[in-house]
């Protein structure tokens, strides 16, 4: 077995548990609400329209957006609760619709017969209508199950651990084994749940206790297996981190100022963030804290979570805070911006900016070296005089930011076509000539590895993106936490970060190893 696959398998119990817990609770609550609501809607025309419309409307919201929207709607809460609420809402439509249809489609002769033999409304429902509608309702439950298992993979960006962690992580680090692994496990889970529900249905229909026992036992087994890490997880995690503790004893002389403290480290969904989050986690664990890692969170979701204290520590970038949080668009010199951002975060949100990490990860326009030479382009200003239609690729977030508007206006790039693309694929796309320009991240190792050139920005239209270490209001008030993380300030150069990123992105090194390499470099700067 490859080391990569082994690492994925090691993460499986925790992620599968998170996924199962989300799926099963969301389905259970969704079904518990939808079936009675469906019954009521089948009986009341006045309720039917609004109920079905509301459920359909929820369905039209893209699932990713529905999940992300739950965070601000629930006051910045992240993790299980927003994912659970979104998945519950999402699971309701198929069950609700099929319950209503199943009951309304019953031959009126059947309900008349039920009344004719002397049944009350409730008896008609339980003896006749529900049994006759059951195949429809169960079909709805099965649809909901498959949907929810699939959609739960999208709960990673709101900070709920799921099998989606494999997919998001894998896409960002070009680790296709992880992506396929996540997809396959999610698909197997959907198939298994679907088959067990179908088995339960046949057991009920044929009144076969044997089938019922097999299906019920299978479900119980799956749940028990999936939930085990939640019950016994504390112990498992302690074992996994014990070797790191030994290192910590060496480093800090055995002092564990954060013992018994539980801290959450949040990160966005790209390699650098994974590595830095792991680095933060390592330091906090050395100090004795129990660390909860929430990778792959959406940028604004992460900030909301930090502000509200759902996340204690994160790494952000001055330019990002400047534009997306503060809503500013004018450029500013690097140090001045850092000072303004830090002051703003403290005053407006109580967030403590512990300091700069020591490197910038800015957006920079980059081109293939050969292509740039052929077009005689060296700076962004040169692009305006290129006649042939140029295409620029970036993550979709960038084209919505004010700095793109500014770059376009400053350099007269209105004729340039834009193409939204996951950042994982940009570098390959520009190397292979599929697009002409990309918005590279300056710490991405692939700039050098793929022989790309970064275009000069003479008008300084792109703001600085200094990496900064942020603490939530509560965590910022704890001297032990501050002291534990302060050594990271100004400890990481752009070169170090680039190398660590490249290790993960191109050499397939595990994130934990890259983080360990950084630790090594930080503690022994001379080497």
């Amino acid at each position: 077995m490859s080391a990569n696959l082994g690492a994925r398998l090691a993460e499986l119990p925790d992620l599968l548990a998170g996924h199962l817990l989300l799926t099963v609770t969301a389905l259970a609550i969704g079904i518990t609400i939808s079936i009675p609501l469906g019954i009521a809607a089948s009986r009341s025309r006045r309720l039917r329209g609004p109920a079905l419309t509301a459920a359909s409307l929820i369905q039209t919201v893209p699932s990713m957006a529905l999940l992300a929207l739950m965070v601000p709607l629930l006051g910045g809460m992240i993790g299980f609760i927003p994912a659970f609420v979104a998945l519950t809402l999402y699971s309701m439509l198929p069950v609700l619709r099929n319950t209503v249809t199943g009951i309304l489609e019953i031959d009126p002769a059947m309900t008349e017969a039920a009344r004719g033999v002397g049944m009350t409304d409730i008896q008609s429902l339980s003896y006749v209508e529900l049994p006759l509608a059951a195949p429809f309702i169960i079909a709805g439950v099965r649809t909901a199950t498959v949907w929810v298992v699939g959609m739960a993979t999208l709960s990673t960006p709101v900070g709920a651990p799921s099998l989606g962690n494999y997919i998001f992580f894998g896409l960002q680090t070009r680790n296709w084994v992880a992506v396929v692994f996540g997809c396959v496990v999610a698909a197997l889970l959907a198939i298994a749940l679907d088959a067990l529900i179908r088995l339960l249905e046949t057991a009920a229909r044929r009144r076969s206790p044997l089938r019922g026992a097999v299906a019920g036992g299978g479900l119980a087994l799956l749940l028990a297996f999936g939930m085990w890490p939640i019950a016994g997880g504390e112990r498992a995690r302690t074992v996994a981190t014990s070797s790191r503790h030994e290192v910590a004893v060496e480093m800090d002389g055995g002092r564990r100022p954060l013992a018994g403290r539980s801290l959450t480290v949040g990160s966005k969904g790209f390699t650098e963030q994974y590595v830095l989050a792991d680095l933060l986690g390592l330091r906090l664990e050395w100090a004795g804290a129990h660390v909860d890692r929430r990778p792959n969170m959406g940028s604004t979701i992460l900030f909301d979570a930090l502000r509200s204290g759902s996340v204690d520590v994160s790494i952000d970038y001055t330019g990002t805070v400047w534009t997306t949080v503060m809503g500013r668009s004018e450029p500013l010199e690097r140090t001045a911006m850092f000072i303004e951002v830090a002051a703003y975060l403290r005053a407006e949100h109580g967030v403590l900016t512990l300091g700069q990490l020591g490197f910038e990860n800015a957006y920079a326009l980059a081109m293939d070296r050969g292509r740039a030479a052929a077009l005689r382009v060296r700076s962004i200003a040169d692009l305006a005089r290129v006649d042939e239609g140029l295409t620029i690729a970036s993550d979709p977030e960038f084209f919505g930011r004010p700095e793109w508007v500014r770059v376009r206006a400053a350099y007269g790039l209105d004729a340039v076509h834009t193409r939204g693309m996951d950042s994982t694929f940009m570098y390959g796309a520009v190397r292979d000539g599929e697009v002409d320009i990309i918005t590279a991240y300056t710490t991405d190792g692939r700039i050098a590895a793929f022989d790309l050139v970064v275009l000069e920005d003479p008008y300084q239209a792109l703001p600085p993106y200094d990496a900064i270490l942020l603490l939530s209001p509560d965590a910022g008030a704890e001297p032990e936490v501050v002291a534990t993380l302060r050594p990271l300030v100004n400890a990481i150069s752009a070169d170090m970060m680039r190398t660590a990123n490249l290790m993960v992105d191109l050499d397939g090194v595990e994130v934990a190893e890259a983080a360990a390499w950084l630790v090594d470099r930080i503690s022994q700067p001379g080497r």
């Binding site: 002769a109 059947m110 008349e112 017969a113 009344r115 033999v117 002397g118 049944m119 008896q123 006749v128």
Partner: protein
């Protein structure tokens, strides 16, 4: 058990038009009364006012002199047997569960129910061993309607309502079932009201025929009287087809016997 409808009306549009218009009819104990008419004549609506599947707009339904409006609908329906037009067996229940449904609603214990089901299946000429555990989709049309009769009789009603009970059956099955039904009804002394659009069926089965048209009673008399004197051009028209068929059959029979007599 006697049944009397006293000036029963049913309107669905607040009194502008009437589906049942001032119907007053009565059945003696043990009598089989046939409500005869075309579709839309109000015969089925009239039938359904008796067990309050449809509430009359005005008028009274008296069962053994008691006003049905004063009886809880569910209680009323459990005490009256009902055979549905399209049989109305519950497809997800076994024959035994279908037949035993009203006793179950009445809270009979399982033993008593089971005995009753076997008794009734035997009464409608279905072998309990063979049929009790089957489900309706596994039965023929005739068998299903026999189960339908058994279900209607399960709780021992004294009054039986039948909505076109033989409509969906082929002629041979229909004749056999009709005879069996008539014999059971007589044997148990049930008062029965049957809806049909078939004059021949009405003449063959009914103790009394009520001809309805556009919600009104056109003629209310025993078959012998109607045969002698239809009393109304519309009733006369309804008689045309059975008469013509009877005449044709008589001629054919005599032709057959005369050709047999010839050398």
């Amino acid at each position: 058990m006697t049944l009397m409808l006293d000036r029963v009306c049913k309107s669905y549009d607040g009194g502008v038009t009437f589906a049942v218009d001032d119907v007053s009819i009565a059945a003696e104990s043990g009598e089989l009364m046939v409500l005869l008419g075309e579709s839309g004549s109000g015969k089925t609506t009239t039938l359904k006012t008796i067990n309050r599947l449809i509430e009359p707009t005005s008028g009274r339904v008296l069962i053994d002199g008691v006003d049905a409006a004063g009886v809880e609908p569910v209680t009323l329906r459990r005490s009256i047997g009902y055979v549905f037009q399209d049989i109305g067996l519950f497809p997800h229940m076994t024959v035994a569960d279908n037949v035993g449904i009203t006793p179950r609603l009445l809270g009979w214990d399982a033993d008593r129910r089971q005995r009753r089901v076997r008794e009734l299946l035997a009464l409608v000429h279905l072998d309990p061993e063979t049929y009790a555990s089957r489900t309706p989709p596994e039965l023929s049309g005739g068998e299903r309607q026999r189960v339908g009769f058994a279900r209607a009789l399960a709780a021992g009603p004294r009054l039986l309502l039948l909505d076109e009970p033989f409509g969906a059956l082929d002629p041979v099955t229909r004749d056999g079932l009709r005879d069996d039904f008539r014999a059971i009804q007589r044997q148990l002394g049930l008062t029965a009201v049957m809806v049909t659009h078939d004059m021949t069926e009405a003449l063959l089965l009914g103790d009394r025929i009520v001809v309805m048209r556009q919600g009104r009673v056109l003629r209310d008399a025993p078959p012998s009287e109607i045969l002698r004197d239809p009393g109304d051009p519309y009733v006369d028209r309804l008689m045309t087809s059975p008469r013509r068929n009877a005449e044709r059959l008589r001629i054919m029979a005599s032709d057959a016997s005369s050709s047999e007599a010839a050398p």
